[in-house]
Symmetry: C2
Subunit: 286 residues, 2 copies
């Protein structure tokens, strides 16, 4: 099986690692717009050889693991040149735009829209790790628009990676993921910013930070090149979640200002329910 | 050495575990207002025997590890009855109120105000763990108001626990800790609330949550009984941090509304500096 991985960062690179270990016959071609990343991917052994986008014409599988704005350009041109049974799938965090864009493409049936809910806060080929996808959820959109044989190949690969599949409509995906992923990134980035701004005047502040702070701002390490286009493509949904979040924070502040610490206690007690919800996530992903 | 631990939750319980393993001669007495916690602490072997607050009169060390509002009542009455050389220290997340309250107490010199920056999101005696304090920062306030011999005993104990000491003025402590600890808890609680509220109508939403969301809302599991009094005692500082955080979120939203994704990119890039800061924390605590 010949696979072209377009984008050799954390996501594409980790997929290459697991494809190599689960598929003995795999030949991994790689392309990255960043020449240094491409070199690193080759020297790290993530891929067997460097390739170009035009190699999409001769492979069995194309994995598109690049920022979602670049995907909008790359996926249609890849679909233009693929063979009859080639599977092309993406892994982006927004699904409505890409599904709409290629809905009338003559090779729409070669494409599968996917979003593996997996990652770390690190990026680049050096961040690629074994087993990243094991036990994780992979959201697949508009599966019915993909050819049977291509669907089947995709499911075999996702199965090899150890993922569980959930089928969703693209717009519902984008609305829901805004809450459980995109908003977390903003809350984390802005928390980091608030403390960094303060630190400019108060040098010792980070010396006082513990593991709780570390956990809460972890996502503020994420790549702007990946996240800025996600926010752009999911603008309306993200703004909605952000508004609700700000309202909740303002309400909390008002409760403090009016010394209603009983109400604050109850707010926190109600939200403690997140324990059971997170236990569910941990059980799923372990 | 006879030690009375008042409050046998995560913090007091973990301290008892490490005191037992580092001090062979230690006898651990315990008290908790929650009778079930006291029973659990005994059966888990955290303490050697149950005690009452009046036992503060006959021990060498009193550790006060209870919610900061209760501390304001307990610490003065403990100081009323302690022996000449007894060390009394607290571990609370706010320092200005307690330092002010006991500033004129005849036994002020027996007290040391401390804040070990250590913990997990869990609570109660079952949450107590070995080595919680190893490599962590312990902030000590107004050390000069504590008697030499009592200071020395405290430093011996903190050293046994593996903590590094930082000296700070109580008001500066409260102002700084609002940024790197108290605000993180609110951002996390309100993020959890925002998503839970949404979930009431959208049942599948948590099925899509990954490790990033988990990390960001981890602190929303924290105990309201511990945190509500902290917010109350550090009200002015916390409100200030919350205002700055809300302003940053609103600005981010406005940048999105005006489609200025280049500015959003730069905001995130600037905040990525948190990586180096967090590496500092990780190196310290490992």
């Amino acid at each position: 099986m010949k696979v072209l991985v377009i984008g050799l960062g954390l996501i594409g690179g980790s997929m290459a690692i697991d494809l190599r270990s689960t598929r003995k016959d795999v030949v991994l071609l790689g392309y990255d717009a960043n020449e240094q990343h491409l070199d690193a991917a080759l020297s790290l052994g993530l891929i067997d050889q460097k390739a170009g986008l035009q190699d999409a014409a001769s492979v069995d599988v194309v994995i598109v693991a690049i920022p979602v704005n670049v995907s909008l350009k790359v996926i249609p041109s890849v679909l233009d040149i693929v063979k009859d049974d080639t599977l092309v799938f993406d892994v982006g965090s927004t699904k409505a735009n890409i599904c709409k864009l290629i809905s009338e493409h003559p090779n729409r049936r070669n494409f599968l829209a996917a979003h593996p809910i997996a990652g770390t806060e690190y990026s680049g080929p050096q961040a690629a790790i074994r087993g990243l996808y094991k036990g994780k959820t992979n959201i697949v959109c508009e599966v019915e628009k993909t050819a049977f044989k291509v669907q089947e190949l995709a499911m075999d690969i996702f199965n090899d990676l150890g993922m569980r599949i959930r089928y969703m409509e693209p717009k519902a995906h984008d609305r829901h993921i805004a809450y459980v992923s995109h908003l977390s990134h903003i809350s984390s980035f802005m928390l980091g910013k608030t403390v960094i701004d303060k630190e400019r005047n108060e040098r010792d502040i980070f010396d006082m930070a513990g593991s709780g702070f570390e956990s809460t701002v972890r996502l503020a390490k994420s790549s702007p090149a990946m996240w800025s286009p996600i926010f752009e493509q999911n603008k309306d949904n993200v703004i909605e979640t952000l508004e609700e979040y700000i309202v909740n924070l303002q309400r909390f502040k008002q409760l403090m200002e009016s010394n209603d610490f009983e109400a604050i206690y109850r707010e926190m007690e109600d939200t403690n329910r997140i324990k059971e919800i997170l236990e569910g996530i941990t059980i799923k992903s372990s």
